[in-house]
Symmetry: C2
């Protein structure tokens, strides 16, 4: 069911990855089927049953009990209903039926610009055991290309110091005079 | 028409600003009616006709032709339809019927946390001629309190160096090891 995807899978199929990739791959890999049993596609509503939450919890180092399937589906429906704000791309290992990679392009709508879309890259994650196989690079590449395909006028991400050189390979740069600031969690939870 | 608001105005009315404000005001001002003719409220669909785009264009220093009323309303409808993602607060000068202040709390939905909501503060702006009257401070205060009221588990903003000390007053802090990176505009527009 095409409707089960968080964004139209056609969007991935229209990308000519042979021409448009940003990173260098050695050995060269196929972008939508990087290995015989690995498939790159949009997140599906049924992916809760393919270990999607386990991937997020383990790969993003979050200590948390996670959410129930019902909560997952409610959130999925909210994201889907917002109409083109959540471009969540995953990699499925079709031999184990598990989600082993994740990348989010989140789009915020703006009034000010000719293009309504301001993008952010979030939650790039590859499951332990699948690392060192160019999959993180591939997810970054696919997501960065999606930014352009969907028409973002501006895109950012935030990262720790040791990831800066990685993201520079995907044409991200630092403006040294700019800071990201966080609201005190004690205030939020008070 | 209550339906004309981007978020329910009740949300502002339920905040006890006398107790909950974060900044210090001298002289003390009323949060929802800071001066006799100034009113703090959610953005309305009809605010295009009250100079909303002029405020954004001038106060955020964007060189742009802006958008038409029809485009504005289409974007407004998209934001409203996304269901609780856009908390846009404005200040209207009721004597001139012009919008003179703006602050955005944008909420991204997440799967990972017990709370679905990850907030960002954006586009805090006060019209030239209204500055020095504690209105920027008031907009920051209202928006920060909204973050808590709507249940964000995490909130950030990004800013230039010279604004850091201002935002620290509202309980925002810098993590020095963290960077914001921008995608090359030449790539996006290629």
């Amino acid at each position: 069911m095409e409707d089960d995807y968080i964004y139209p899978p056609e969007l991935l199929r229209t990308i000519d990855f042979e021409k448009e990739h940003l990173a260098t791959y050695e050995p060269s890999i196929s972008m939508l089927n990087p290995e015989p049993n690995l498939l790159v596609r949009p997140l599906q509503r049924s992916d809760y049953n393919k270990g999607y939450m386990d991937l997020l919890l383990s790969a993003l180092y979050v200590r948390d009990a996670g959410i129930s399937q019902q909560e997952f589906e409610e959130r999925w429906d909210k994201m889907k209903a917002s109409g083109g704000s959540y471009y969540i791309t995953v990699i499925e290992d079709t031999s184990t039926k598990k989600i082993i990679g994740n990348a989010v392009l989140h789009v915020e709508y703006k009034f000010l610009q000719p293009s309504i879309k301001r993008g952010r890259l979030e939650d790039i994650a590859v499951l332990d055991g699948y690392r060192g196989r160019q999959l993180g690079k591939l997810l970054m590449d696919v997501t960065t290309i999606l930014c352009k395909k969907v028409g973002c006028f501006r895109v950012s991400l935030h990262c720790k110091d040791h990831f800066v050189s990685l993201y520079q390979k995907f044409r991200f740069y630092i403006d040294q005079a700019e800071n990201i600031m966080w609201l005190d969690k004690n205030y939020l939870q008070s």
